[in-house]
Amino acid sequence: MTALAMSPTTARPRRAVLRLHRPALIVWGAFVLLAVGALLWVHLFRAPSARRPVDQYFVFTDVNNVMNFLGEVLSYTSVAVAAWAGAALVGRELENGAARFAWTQSLTPARWLTAQLGAAALPLTAGTTLLGLVYAWVWTADQDVLVSDWSYDRVLVPAGPMAVALLLLALAVGALAGVATGRALPALSVAAAVTCTARYFFGREWDTVWPVRRYWPVQLSATVVLLVLTALALVAAYALLGRRTNIKGAAV
């Protein structure tokens, strides 16, 4: 019976999650397209313009200003994702009770959470990977006109695998905060604060603990630590959910 309840043929929860969060998916898609467009604009138009000293300087189109601004925005994406995951994905449906609708269909609460996280993680990972690749390519290709060092958080965070790991951590922390508080607004605050701290620490402080500061060791070690933290947050979220909903033993 348990096997039947968990067998994937009795429910297609991912489709249901996508239906619930279609607006968020559209916003994310638009954001990724916009950011990729802006990065291409920097590479194709602003960088060449900076190489021609005759072109007039304008503060909003200066290659370094634009690139730094994009780096900041991309490095804080994780905080927005954490807030969304805590409030809209998990916290709100616990607060308004709608979760009890999902939990009494043909799937366990844990499988519902898995579907929610999976449906969010896939587009987030794909989008961030694309943004990271484009950012790193532009940043490398236009080194001659860019002044920010790789160790700045606005370069370090969005330009490598750390960006993906930070986003997954944001998602997991959001889920944990949502399950723990059972409310949208507290979950939003807690998840955003924790993720902001993680972004600050791994963006600014992590590289200083290394005797020799080199890009890849810093990037990869931060990625690994972030993924471990993500796993811990997920374990905690599932354990809490199990305690809330009486699914001991049949968790995932």
Binding site: M1, T2, L4, A5, T9, T10, A11, R12, P13, R15, A16, R19, L20, E93, N96, G97, A98, A99, R100, F101, A102, W103, T104, Q105, S106, L107, T108, R243, T245, N246, I247, K248, A250
Partner: protein
């Protein structure tokens, strides 16, 4: 015991918070499959807690509850549950909500049932759930619950928001479902009249305990309303309630011996029976044999 049990509880208790009061305590009963069961009792008696435990949404603090022969929650695909506040996703439309039901119950889903229930209520499939009235929301929730074609249907105060016509119609739908598919239906209400005509089984929950459990016919047959001279001694029987007015004693009893020929006796109505028990918390618990867990 006859047949299999839809729900079986033994020493079941639920307390909210470590220091909170007990919402349910020491509940033991057995609900045979295929019944239409009314769960009645005053506000705060523990009816909703009992249904949420059966739906697997709450963990018991003590004791055990078995649903369709297994742990509650292990049989999710065979159990439908409609909570008192009819939880649905407010941002979806009616049509999207039904599609969500189909996605989350692929094997058992009967889309035609859901569509019929919704169409009977003149609901626009494109309206948002958040824009529906309480009664319309109830209709959508019941459509989802029925389309799942459950073996056990748990309904917490299902009729409270419905107008009399809709109530009659929904009750008809539920009874048809019970008759066609042998679905066990458990409905709670604090308005007995709402359930009296449709239910064949009764569970009276009061003060966190099951006070009466059994087939309504058997329960009524097991009790007598008696009028006798004021000095009559009723010790030979189980007395639920007795009142003396002037020289007359009126009582509701469970006879354990033949009744004296000079007493006036009659069968109580269901309402008299329930009210007698509710007015007299010290009256003993009554359970017909097949409901003893």
């Amino acid at each position: 015991m006859t047949g299999t049990a839809a729900i079986e509880a033994a020493a079941l208790g639920k307390r909210f918070g470590r220091r909170g009061g007990w919402a349910l305590r020491d509940c033991a009963f057995r609900l045979p499959a295929g019944r239409v069961c009314a769960v009645v009792g005053p506000n705060g008696a523990g009816k909703s807690t009992l249904l949420a435990l059966a739906a697997g949404l709450l963990a018991p603090s003590e004791g055990e509850i078995t649903v369709l022969g297994g742990r509650p929650g292990a049989a999710r695909e065979r159990v439908s549950y409609v909570a008192q506040d009819k939880p649905l996703y407010p941002q979806l439309t009616v049509a999207e909500t039904l599609r969500m039901g189909a996605d989350l119950n692929t094997d058992r889903w009967d889309a035609s049932v859901a569509e019929r229930v919704v169409a009977d209520g003149d609901l626009n499939p494109k309206s948002n759930i958040r824009a529906l009235s309480g009664g319309q929301r109830t209709r959508v929730a019941l459509a989802l619950a029925l389309a799942k074609r459950p073996e056990l249907l748990l309904l917490d105060e299902p009729m409270a928001d419905l107008d009399p016509l809709a109530r009659h119609q929904m009750m008809g739908l539920l009874m048809a479902q019970a008759a066609e598919s042998g679905t066990t239906i458990v409905m709670s209400s604090h308005v007995l009249a709402e359930l009296e005509d449709s239910c064949d089984h009764l569970l009276l929950v009061d003060g966190g305990q099951v006070r009466i459990a059994g087939e309504i016919d058997e329960l009524l047959a097991a009790h007598r309303r008696v009028s006798a001279p004021a000095d009559t001694v009723l010790d030979a029987h189980t007395v639920v309630e007795s009142r003396t007015t002037g020289r007359q004693l009126t009582a509701l009893i469970r006879p354990l011996a033949p009744l004296a020929a000079d007493w006036q006796t009659g069968t109580p109505t269901l309402e008299e029976l329930v009210l007698s028990y509710l007015r007299n918390p010290q009256a003993p618990t009554t359970k017909t044999p097949e409901t003893v867990a």
